[in-house]
Symmetry: C2
Subunit: 147 residues, 2 copies
DNA sequence: TTTACTGCAAAGGGTTTGCATGAGG
DNA sequence: CCTCATGCAAACCCTTTGCAGTAAA
């Protein structure tokens, strides 16, 4: 999604299009590391040195309600992603990275449909996380140094 | 799991077994509503009127590290559950309830194995959430009253 | 007896809110 | 022009930390 499509999507909901919002949305859409609010704020600060965290929070809330991005609450803070298609997140409990994987996307889509039908649950979105150790981290270690 | 098994599990890790810990663990294990820390504190307060939130937090942290319970961070606060088998949580964005479903458990188990092998990711646990509207809530409504 | 847990109080920090100014439509 | 977004500051509240007394082993 580019800024043109983005602006159209925002206008459709009667939401005001501002340069800050476009920049924040672009940062999240182009990010592949599930950035935190702090990280998003840092990256947007290149273009808008005086932008505040409050503005970033407000914009992320708007984008979330538009269904353009998804908030992923973690224990310490939330992270954000723009990949709304059914997929799994790989969360390394050692180095803290969060990466998307395409593996099993069809299974998740099937799962979603099955749950929707059998549980009579009207699904708007989903979150699939796997917590463990990525290939480069020693199994059994944790981000806080414990084991 | 009863308190005897629980005590054994705690002792195995050199963790001290106290009445408060047993009570907190029992509350989480017997709960089917994914209670918050506040709710767990309230329920344990019946037995221990002077117990504090700090103790509840500390105990939940211990139980989590033992792999007896799982913390589920949400936007407002965390909830806890003792069902660690692969399953999906149904999160109603209207009434706020979180319920486990057995539907698709085999799919999730298959998914986990596939991701583990193909992504070379050593998985310790997982979280599968579906966000939407339960059968008794009007589709399109939200907990904060917006739509 | 030793070590770790509990209860209490205070601090920490991510997130939200209130308000005056400024920009979008 | 009118409404809403931004920037700034303060408040909010969940969660963590420090410490003295106490209970587990």
């Amino acid at each position: 999604m580019n800024q043109g499509q983005l602006a159209t999507s925002l206008k459709r909901w009667g939401v005001r299009v501002t340069p800050q919002r476009l920049a924040i949305a672009e940062v999240v859409i182009n990010a592949d590391d599930h950035p935190s609010v702090q990280q998003i704020h840092e990256r947007v600060s290149d273009q808008f040195p005086y932008i505040t965290l409050a503005t970033v929070y407000a914009t992320l809330s708007v984008l979330g309600k538009q269904g353009l991005i998804q908030e992923l609450p973690f224990q310490k803070q939330s992270r954000y992603e723009a990949n709304l298609t059914p997929h799994a997140n790989l969360v390394c409990v050692s180095c803290g990275t969060v990466t998307d994987t395409e593996i099993g996307e069809d299974l998740i889509t099937t799962l979603r449909r099955e749950v929707s039908v059998k549980a009579e649950f009207d699904i708007a979105s989903q979150r699939v996380d796997f917590y463990g150790w990525c290939p480069t981290c020693p199994v059994g270690t944790y981000q806080d140094g414990s084991r």
